[in-house]
């Protein structure tokens, strides 16, 4: 794994997003409620540039004909087929078998890309 500096933390305020490229690999950086998450810009469904999708909330499980809006700012919606991913975990909201593409981590963060923020610089860890 190699550390690649890709952004300044100041570019990613809460709710912010930045798309970066490391070699041939595109990565979406998201500040989700103060935590930085990074995902490969490839939807596990059909290869769409998922990180260009709209970030929003969604309707939460509810009773019939009731609407509960929740997960504000935590849902990434793929622009091709509308699949909803939880930005905090990368998991598809209703399909446990699908999640945004993650890479092995250095410090036990199994959910997103390994990230380090030091002295205002955001790094992603990628092979090579």
């Amino acid at each position: 794994m190699k550390r690649h500096p890709v952004a300044q933390a100041s570019e990613l305020p809460p709710g912010g997003r930045k798309l970066v490229r490391v070699g041939a690999i595109e990565v979406g950086l998201f500040n989700v409620g103060g935590e930085i998450r990074a995902y490969r810009n490839v939807c596990p469904h059909a290869g769409a540039p998922v990180c260009l999708g709209r970030v929003s909330g969604t309707s939460m499980p509810s009773r019939v004909y009731e609407y509960l809006y929740g997960m504000e700012g935590c849902v990434l919606r793929c622009p091709w087929h509308g699949w909803e991913f939880d930005l905090r975990t990368g998991q598809h909201i209703v399909d446990a078998g699908n999640r945004l593409k993650a890479v092995p981590v250095e410090k036990g963060d199994l959910e997103g890309f390994p990230l380090e923020q030091s002295e205002g610089t955001v790094y992603v860890l990628l092979p090579g």
């Binding site: 469904h45 969604t58 309707s59 499980p61 019939v64 509308g82 699949w83 909803e84 598809h92 209703v94």
Partner: protein, 357 residues
């Protein structure tokens, strides 16, 4: 092997003589002046609807003589129970006057209990309702449910609203409170208040109409799942009688695929749409699709993914009757038992036949 036939058409020998005694006085007067009829769909079968060979010796319509029906159909094919689905009555749901429809449905149910269900323990009845007045239909379900020989609610498949919509929920509430499945049966598409048989227009002839009947059932099953009817009424079972089989995997796949992207509009769905279908929806088999290669039908059954969905039906005494000994391809043992009797026995609460009566 036990055998339950989930679609047997009892008919009126004389509709007016049979229903008039059970109509309120006002409607008796109406019937005396104008007769009793339900709105016709208008499609004429070139081979007739009733089987020529099933006419009772007494004359009258095929299926109109209970004793002859037992002999000609049930004894001949070893049918333990016949789920009676009526004839010339489902259109009560699509009368322009919903009160006339409700009165007719109630009269039918009263006549059924006396003329058919009293005749043999092997007849089981459907509570016919008019779906165009769901509150009145719920009261009719309440009235009939005490008589355990009624094993389901049955309504016209033709409608001007999709059956998942909240307008119909009083029907499902009453039915599920009594553990009764709700069934639909084709024949009224395009009749009376019902919308056209297809959203793309009216078929020209009976042949064309009969081919496309399943489109209506697809729309209703889709609606029932999407509107959350099975979340709101978790005990409810829905039976699409005589609506075909092979479309079901297509619908399940399409719904499941869309659910992953469009789920936010139906947040009350907690599972894949296909899972609701497998648990809550039942299809009767007749008219069984007959692909050139029978193995293809078995593949369709596998795609449906549960042996609990299908129930054998013959549609006696109609022209497109399915003979239980010939209609289905060779099935694995579990599927055979389930389709020919176990699924219906579980759904309708039917034990082994204990009396020959």
């Amino acid at each position: 092997m036990r055998l339950i036939d989930a679609d047997v058409h009892n008919a009126f020998a004389d509709i007016k003589a049979e229903l008039r005694p059970f109509l309120p006085r006002l409607w008796q007067e109406f019937a005396d002046r104008h007769g009793i009829a339900v709105p016709p769909a208008g499609y004429v079968s070139p081979v007739g609807v009733q089987r020529e060979d099933a006419r009772p010796p007494s004359g009258g319509l095929a299926g109109s003589d209970p004793g002859h029906l037992i002999k000609d159909h049930m004894e001949r094919h070893g049918v333990d129970y016949a789920i009676l689905t009526g004839s010339h009555i489902l259109g009560a749901s699509v009368h322009f006057d919903p009160d006339w429809g409700t009165a007719l449905a109630a009269a039918y149910n009263m006549n059924l209990a006396g003329r058919w269900l009293d005749r043999s323990e092997r007849f089981r009845g459907s509570i016919i309702i008019s779906h165009s007045d769901p509150q009145a239909a719920a009261l009719e379900i309440e009235r009939c449910a005490a008589d355990k020989r009624f094993v389901q609610v049955l309504m016209a498949a033709g409608s001007n609203r999709l059956f998942g919509q909240r307008f119909f929920h009083p029907i499902y509430e009453a039915a599920s409170a009594h553990g009764l499945p709700v069934a639909i049966h084709p024949g009224t598409e395009g009749a009376g208040t019902a919308d056209t048989p297809t959203p793309a227009g009216r078929p020209t002839r009976y042949f064309e109409w009969h081919n496309i009947v399943p489109i209506n059932a697809m729309a209703h099953v889709n609606s029932l799942v999407c509107e959350g009817v099975f979340e709101k009424f978790p005990r409810l079972r829905f039976v699409a009688v005589e609506c075909g089989i092979a479309w079901l995997p297509h619908l399940m796949w399409r719904m499941d695929k869309n659910y992953k992207g469009l789920r936010a509009q139906v947040p009350w769905l907690k599972r894949l749409p296909s899972e609701y279908i497998r648990q809550h929806v039942r299809l009767t088999t007749q008219p069984t699709e007959e692909p050139e290669n029978p193995a293809h039908l078995l593949q369709i059954f596998e795609m449906i993914g549960s042996p609990e969905v299908l129930m054998f039906s013959s549609d006696y005494p109609h022209w497109d009757f399915d003979n239980p000994a010939a209609a289905l391809p060779a099935l694995p043992k579990e599927w055979k038992e389930r389709i020919f009797w176990r699924n219906a026995a579980e759904l309708y609460g039917l034990g082994p036949v204990t009396s020959g009566r």
